[in-house]
Amino acid sequence: MSAAAGHALGLRGLTKRYGDFIAVNDVSLEIGQGEFVTLLGPSGSGKTTILMAIAGFVAPSEGAVLLDGRDITPLPPEKRNFGMVFQGYALFPHMTVAENVAFPLRVRGMSKADRDAKVRAALDLVQLAQFAGRLPKQLSGGQQQRVALARALVFDPSLLLLDEPLSALDKKLRAELQEELKALHRRVGRTFINVTHDQEEALSMSDRIAILNHGRLVQAGAPGELYERPRTRFVADFLGKSNFLEGTVRQPAPGGFMLEAGASRLAVAHGQGAALPPGTRSLLSLRPEKIALLAEGETAENQVEGRILSWSYLGAGFALRIATPDLGELRAVLPAWKSPVAPAEDLPVRLGWSADAAVPVEEDAA
């Protein structure tokens, strides 16, 4: 496998309609050379349709797919030279592992000697050389997945497309293969485009995530950026968990304001330039792990009193549901080993968080 750099892919105003239904709505996205990009969204968000349009199985109603700036929209799938790992792997059941991996080389008319060398290299890459003569059904799910990867990479494709590559595996194996896939991406240095509805998978593997909802691209960026600075309520809710605080903007200043919610006034330091006009409604996203349970005498920039509604022990931490008079129900997650109080139902507690913990988000357009 040569270490040739990957290729760049561009989507320009990609739209796909099925009758009245708009599956993909004006999506534009630039994917750089060698990047690992994940299209993340709930089912029906259009992520798979976009992947199928990139692969050439779906003809877009409008817009274009560009490879290194060249329009490839009219090309059929077999002319695009993209590797693809299908959901459920789609290994050919009547061929051995080696024959499966050799398939893309065979249809390209490569000689048997060259083919054998390439197949061996590809199977070595995914550590399956000793299984070359087996049939797919004789392999475990994880091994089948690696065969599918070898088959998709063996012909030096310009891009690797992955359609829910880990969804058929159990949780532990999925975590292992996430690591492997990431390591593989570094080794082959190609552009990977992954589709998933699993936010953990997206966060752990990707260089960049594009979040989709109802066929629209909601936000794209590095995993940390999306997690820390979600642009809309949907992004904050879909990527991780979030509390939402609603209130009125008071005392706006560059980079911050006070949020008035009932009798509470909360300091918000969002660090963004433009000041919000006073009196407007604002919605804040506050991650549960950024809320602390305050010990006796401890203070924080924002403090709220409440009562524990319910709690559960998760080993590493406690998950609490807390009723507050002004902010409704809040969820908090705190490390179990340094919790200042032993949680109990109906226990009065004080919650605290810093001014930069909550970020303003937009309501999603319906």
Partner: protein, 281 residues
Amino acid sequence: MSAAGRTGAGWWMLILPAFLLLVVFYIAPIAQVLTISVTEPELGLGNYERLFTSSAVQRVIETTLRICLITTVLALLLGYGIAYAITLARPRAQGWWILAVLVPLWISVLVRAFAWVTLLRRQGLVNNTLLGAGVIDEPLPLVWNEFGIIVGMVHYMVPFAVLPMLASMREIDPRLLAAARGLGASRGEVFRRVFLPLSLPGVIAAGVLVFIFSLGFYITPAILGGGKTLMVAEWISLQILDLIRWGLGTMMATMLVAAILVTLLVFSRIVDLRRIFGAGA
């Protein structure tokens, strides 16, 4: 008798009626056929000797095998095309296609055979049309020969060829075909390297089914052959009913059963027979 033994005997009693039915109506008559074939007109294998000595017997077997093979091949080719078209059709269209395949099955085989006679005879629709169009000067001999038999038999057998092949094609995951194209295979190569090999079990199943049905086929060859081209089933009926040569007739009947069993045995090593008779999936 132990308690478990009694329970066991109770269960066996339950299937006794079915067992008796099978013995009285199937096994006993077949045993009788076998007995007659080695006792009439005299005890011994004299009737079976005819297989090697009588050119008339050999000709019947040869004709039957030839017609059955040609029928099987044609029915498979036509049936494969139809099953492929149905598999690729939209769900709504699939229903209509399947109806069109099944409707002939519900029409009496006798009606269909006579319909072919009307179409193919000297003054039939086909010859009249061709004569009228000036394509031919003399009516073509389309019926009361091997050609007529094969037309009628293929027509009868196509649905039996379509159904097992359709079942096998429907089991093919469409993602495999998409995957093959994504990996660089043209439509032709996807068919040749993926679809065809995966549909092969259905083709073999259909082939066995059609061939076995064809071997013992009676009505269609009798009507469309017009007594000039004899296949095994008609020959047996001729021996027993017209010539009262029971020994020869039952010998051929025994050979027919043996041929069917051998065919099944050979192919049971290649494909899962339960699939042929619909218990697969």
